[in-house]
Symmetry: D2
C-alpha cells in the first residue's frame, strides 16, 4: 500500500468517530451491518457523509451532493473515503469516478477501505479515471 | 390554491431563513440567482436541503439523500418544498416523484413555490404520481 | 377498463408476435420468464423494443433510446406498451413517465399489461404524469 | 496510436456506411452536425448504434441497451466505437465505462474517434476503467 500523507491520516482519524456514530445509529434503527457509504473532505476542511440509496445513487455522489449544497459549486472535494465490506475494500463505480473528477481538486485522493477502516488502499482519481470525459458528444 | 395546514405553514416559515442564508452564501461565492433546489422535512422534524448538481440529480433527490444518511432508511420525509424561479413555480421531475413516493410518508405533501416563497402551490404525491411503480419488471 | 381504439388494438396485435419471438429467444438463452420490457410505437409506425438493464434503465427508456437513434429526435412516440408479470400489470416508474412525456406526442397512450397481454389497462401520459416538469430549476 | 487489429479495422469499415447514413438522415431532419453517439459490436458480429438522449444517457449505454434487447443478457459486446466532434475525439464518461465493463467481453476494445473517423485512438476497458467496481456497498 502506498503510504498515507499526514493530511490523509488525519482525514481517516476524523472519519473514525463519525463512522462509529453512524453504525450505532443504524444498529438502533434495526440494521445489521448497513452499507456505510463514503465520506468526502472539502477544501474548507469539512467532512460530508453519504450513504447509497435509491436506484443507483452511491454514497460518493450522495456525499458530493451535500458538499455542493453546503458550500456551493465553487468548493471542491480534496479526498474521498469509500467504506467497504467486512473484509473487502470497495472501489468507486464509474459514475462516481466521473463525479469525483468533476467535483474534486486536481488529482484528488481516493481512499478505499474495509468496513472497520483497518485496511485502506490509496488511489488518485487520475489513476482510477484516466483520459477523462470532459463533455461534448 | 389549496390552503396550507398549520404544519405546512410552519415548514415554510422554517425554510425562509435557510433559503435566505443559502442565497447569501451563493452571492458571496459569485452566483447570480442560483438554483435553490428543494427542502425536505423528515418525520423527526428536521429539515434537509439539496441543490441540483451533476447530470440529472435534482435538489429533491439530493435532499432525500441527506435525510437517509442522517436518519437511516427507517425515517421518511413528510413534506417537500421545491423552490422555483423568479416568477414561476417548478414541478418535481418524474424521477423525483418516484423518490418522494418511495422515501415519503403515505401521501406526502409537495409544495411548489417561486424563488421568494411568495407564491406556493400545494400538491400531494398521490396527485402528482398516481398508479405508482412498485418494483418488478 | 377503458376500451382500446382500433389503432391501439392494432399496436397490441403487432406486438404479440414480437413478444413471442423475444420470449423464445430468451428461453433458448436459458432464461426462465425474463423481464420483457416495453414496446413503443413511433409516429412513423415503427415498433421499438427495450428491456430493462443496467442500474435503473427500464425497458421504456431503452426502447425510446432506440427510437431516437433510428428516427432522430424529430420523431415522437405515439404509444407505449409496458409488459408486466405473470398476473400483474406493471406501471412505468417516474423517470420513464418523464421520458414518455418528453419523447411522446401530445398525451401519448400508455398501455400496461400482464406478461401474456391477456390483461391490458389503458392510461394517458397526462393522467400518469400531471403538472409535468418542463425544465428549469 | 496503437495499431488496430484486422478485426478492429473491419469494425470501423463496417461502421463507416452506417455513420454516413445516420448523418444523412439527420441532415434531412434538419440537424446541423448531430451528435453521432457510439457503435458497439456484439459477440455475434452485429453492430448496434446508440445516440445520446435524455438527461445523461450517452450513446454507449443507448447502444448497449439495444444489444441486450436484441441478443439477451447472455451476449456481450466486443468493441465500442465512440464518435466525437469535428476535430477532437471524445472519451466515454465514467458511467459508460462501468457499462462497457459490465456488458463487454474480457478487456473489450474501446475506439475513440473524431466525427469523420479520420482519427482513431485505441484503448481497452481495463486501461480506461482499472480496479473496477464489482458490486457491494
Amino acid at each position: 500500500m502506498t503510504e498515507l500523507t499526514d493530511a490523509e491520516k488525519e482525514f481517516v482519524e476524523r472519519v473514525k468517530p463519525l463512522l462509529k456514530e453512524y453504525k450505532e445509529m443504524c444498529k438502533k434503527a434495526g440494521y445489521e451491518q448497513p452499507a456505510a457509504g463514503s465520506y468526502v473532505l472539502s477544501e474548507r476542511g469539512k467532512i460530508y457523509h453519504g450513504v447509497p440509496f435509491d436506484w443507483g445513487t452511491c454514497g460518493e455522489r450522495n456525499a458530493i451532493g451535500t458538499l455542493v449544497t453546503e458550500e456551493t459549486k465553487m468548493s471542491k472535494l480534496e479526498m474521498v473515503l469509500v467504506v467497504g465490506g467486512p473484509e473487502e475494500i470497495i472501489m468507486p463505480c464509474g459514475e462516481c469516478r466521473q463525479a469525483i473528477y468533476m467535483w474534486g481538486v486536481e488529482n484528488a485522493t481516493v481512499l478505499c477501505s474495509n468496513y472497520d477502516l483497518t485496511r485502506i488502499e490509496k488511489f488518485t482519481i487520475n489513476k482510477l479515471y484516466p483520459y477523462p470525459y470532459r463533455g461534448g458528444g
